[in-house]
Symmetry: C2
Subunit: 216 residues, 2 copies
């Protein structure tokens, strides 16, 4: 038993070594360029060794995706102390956007790419998107509390949460895909696209504020 534990622990260590090498190459040159062969060379093993620990490349992508969610969840966890739910909702949005701008590669892996998602329905282990579920439920919970304070009255909580997520994700995703930059340069004569993004977010928050039931 003890021996088996040690064995599986060593196996986990190797998995982590591979993942760290993968992460290094991933943040340096992007997902596509972080090839199995490069990862193997980084830690001094043959390419096929990788397959002894990870099913395929999307398996590694999913593991990195999970690491990204660990970071995002940590960032969010410090927001539970924000008592006012609407302030918390705004903070969630700002934190989400900051994360996307600071770690665009990770954001892409977590919320844009299909590859890590394919791993979910294909693989045996986990059947649901646990990471996403947790983050989304924090948003739902916050919106529920907002509703109790008079915001979003008469609106479905799930739909409101989904819509709020879509708005910030849309902004981040357009930023990362450089579509925002292209429109910013030409149509809005505004080079600072981060500012553009932030202003759009503030406009959205302003709209949300107007849903507040004030006649009471």
């Amino acid at each position: 038993m003890k021996a088996e534990d040690k064995k599986s622990k060593r196996k986990e260590d190797v998995k982590k070594t591979i993942l760290n090498a993968a992460k290094k190459l991933f943040v340096e040159e992007g997902y596509q360029s972080a090839s199995i062969r490069k990862i193997a060379a980084e830690i001094g093993v043959s390419p096929t060794t990788i397959y002894l620990y990870y099913k395929d490349k999307s398996d590694i992508a999913y593991a990195l995706h999970q690491e990204g969610f660990l970071v995002l969840k940590t960032l969010f966890s410090s927001l539970v102390s924000v008592e006012d739910p609407f302030e918390r909702l705004k903070a969630i949005g700002r934190t989400y956007i900051r994360f996307a701008l600071e770690s665009p590669d990770f954001y892409e892996l977590m919320f844009i790419m299909k590859d890590p998602m394919d791993h979910l329905d294909a693989d045996s282990g986990e059947e649901c998107w646990e990471e996403g579920k947790q983050v989304f439920e924090f948003l739902v919970f916050t919106i529920e509390e907002c509703q109790q304070k008079g915001y979003f009255v008469g609106s479905d909580v799930s739909s409101t949460a989904l819509q709020a997520w879509a708005t910030v994700h849309g902004l981040c995703s357009l930023f990362i895909s450089t579509h925002l930059q292209k429109v910013g340069e030409e149509c809005l004569s505004q080079e600072d696209t981060e500012l553009l993004l932030e202003t759009a977010f503030k406009t959205y928050v302003h709209f949300l504020e107007q849903t507040k039931n004030n006649h009471k």
Copy 2:
């Protein structure tokens, strides 16, 4: 002169033949799988011939991206007849979403992938994203008219337009990347993710309606 015209016209014909083959393979098996070699085989030429007409694969991607915008612009053009600007705004959103759901591959090429966008700053010809600019300006124009009718008072038009775009794009993008499906199954116990998307859109529209200045 006439001869040169004919020559360049023939060249355009070949370009179109290549593009049609590329489009066929693209809609059938996706962008990644639509390889240069397959495109060449489809029209019975050698792979290198493709490079005599298109600089690289992202050049083809951009051409398809442009074709997609031609369709989207046609869809939008029939909305200019909608006189009420807020009704038109809603119609723009619905049309955009329908397009994304009906042609997810094209949507990905037009609004998600970086590849066709890279073509813009790299290549010589066009320096700006003309397609995107036109569609965005239609949105800006409509929102300006909405503002004159009392909507979005005190909000920046550009920011409002960007935010509206981001919201529908976010929904479409989460749908296409299957993230919406994964959250829908687990958190919202709702399999019909198209309905989920539509409901979120309606919730957003409801929020927009609440920005209307009624005390007059």
